[in-house]
Amino acid sequence: MELLFEKSVPGRQGLRVSASDVPTSIHLRKDLLRDSDAALPELSELDVVRHFTELSRRNFGVDTNFYPLGSCTMKYNPKVCERIASYPGFAHLHPLLPQLRGGGMLTQGALEVLYEMDRLLREICGMAAFTMQPMAGAHGELTGIMMMAAYHRDRGNKKHIVLAPDSAHGTNPASAAIAGYTVKSVPSDENGLMSMTALKAMLTDDVAGLMLTCPNTLGLFNPHVKEICDLIHSVDGLAYYDGANLNAIVGKVRPGDLGFDIVHLNLHKTFATPHGGGGPGAGPVGVVEKLADYLPVSTVVKRENGTFALDYNRPKTIGYIAPFYGNFAIVLRAYVYILMAGRQGLKRIAENAVLNANYIKEKLKPYYDLPFPQTCKHECVFSASRQAQKGIRAIDIAKALIDRGIHPPTVYFPLIVKEAMMIEPTETESKETLDAFIEAMSEIAKLAETDPDAIKAAPLTTPVNRLDETAAAKQLNIKAETA
């Protein structure tokens, strides 16, 4: 497909710009000025409309196809959340307004959303207070770990180690390392859970905390989670709950009740806000009472007269971690989603997410190896080891699914499963969709036996066929060269 730049025809234009009534006598330093005009494409409005419509047709999203991307919780985003987020009263608010004199009274609705969302997430997670500021899950992790560090600094603790199981999302060790901690990886046991023996052996006074995803990336809920939190607390460490997989237990179990001290949530996962392409996400962080003073500024408070205001007067805060109040429009969508689902609805979300994953697990068991066959939560992890003996690897199966109109699952993660295929259907898919997926996966498994070359060639129905991922990684070229 041609780029806009390649479609450009000199002199063509889509609109006539009216004469500028802004003085052009602004003096800029010569080195800030262009030597020649910017090479902008010249196109008609129709050219541009067709270009972007065509691009959108090539898009593969949850609005068009099934998207079982494990550990990403790619659930459908209800359109009513989009509609409310686009209300002019929200969408046109200037972020500086609540900070201006008298501006707070003009933004009461938005401040109330932030305030109420804090209350809702406290209730859902069993935490004492939340910040809405982090712009994504990993940003939330860093915020959480910085609060962990602030806590230990205040207590005069000299701790330098953060533990994370070997099944952790890569962001856990990365966040802890960025915050200055040494990360140690706790191995999994034969059941796919963090080894209690290894944890006990690694638990020293140097341990500042443990980051745990529960259920973990194998979709398994750790039955020892309470004991794990107690162990961490026994060395004055903090237990950090990575909320990436909250969808499996939302409304059912509260991380705070299990003993966790810090929780980050990915609103774009569990609470169905748009997801992908690097954002905008939202990663609110909740903490227990003893950590509440460290939350970033600002927070929203309710005055005695019932109005809402921003509070910057927090002496022990870790400070600013993001401009303004996080991705407000994302928080708003999630707020609508939670109100819409309600207490019973959130429980049913978890139940159906778990039911759907187990349905797929049981139906596909005859066709693919299942390293951890116990009942899973919201996702299940297969191995393509059996197919690999015929030369068909997880990546080939992923590509073959594209030809069958299905987004590939997460492959080669978690790292502790060979040829891993991590499938998370979410609660929003119907039985018919799940059956179509099961049919496609079993057909591919049979094809791997009878005609492996047909799989190796996939995908054939896409705008571009199998990409050379090695070359793309080695010779990264993201710049369009135009004449």
């Binding site: 990546i395 492959v411 080669y412 790292l415 060979k418 991922e469 090695t470 080695k474």
Partner: protein, 126 residues
């Protein structure tokens, strides 16, 4: 997998000893599991590492993985060729795909590692 004086770890590193001088790399099983390697991060010469401390990082189209020091010691030389040709690890992991050389602190510790035969048996059990 013929490699004289080579010893292996459960994390799929090999170390070849000549007295206290050692060469380190990853095994055929490791490169096969990683797939096409696209990037290698090598340690600084002079770096002292403890046994099982991260020594290098290898990235493939599938994952980024740490390579751990099979034994404690000091890095004396790294295979700079890998920065431009990381595929050498895929092509010849025991030869041109070596990753770094080190002076081992206690060569006797090698008894804690696996011999070629033990490693082969270990792979069969995976």
């Amino acid at each position: 997998m013929a490699c004289e004086n080579c010893y292996y770890t459960k994390e799929h590193e090999w170390i070849k000893l000549d007295g206290a001088a050692a060469t380190v790399g990853i095994t055929d099983h490791a490169q096969e599991a990683l797939g096409d390697i696209t990037f290698v991060e090598l340690p600084a010469v002079g770096k002292t590492v403890d046994h099982q401390e991260p020594l290098c990082t290898v990235e493939s189209t599938k994952a980024a993985s740490d390579v751990y020091a099979p034994l404690a010691g000091t890095v004396t030389e790294v295979n700079d060729a890998l920065t431009t040709e990381p595929e050498r690890i895929n092509q010849d992991c025991l030869g041109e795909g070596w990753m770094c050389k080190m002076q081992v602190a206690n060569p006797d510790d090698v008894k804690n590692l696996m011999t070629a035969q033990q490693y082969e048996d270990y792979l069969k059990g995976l």
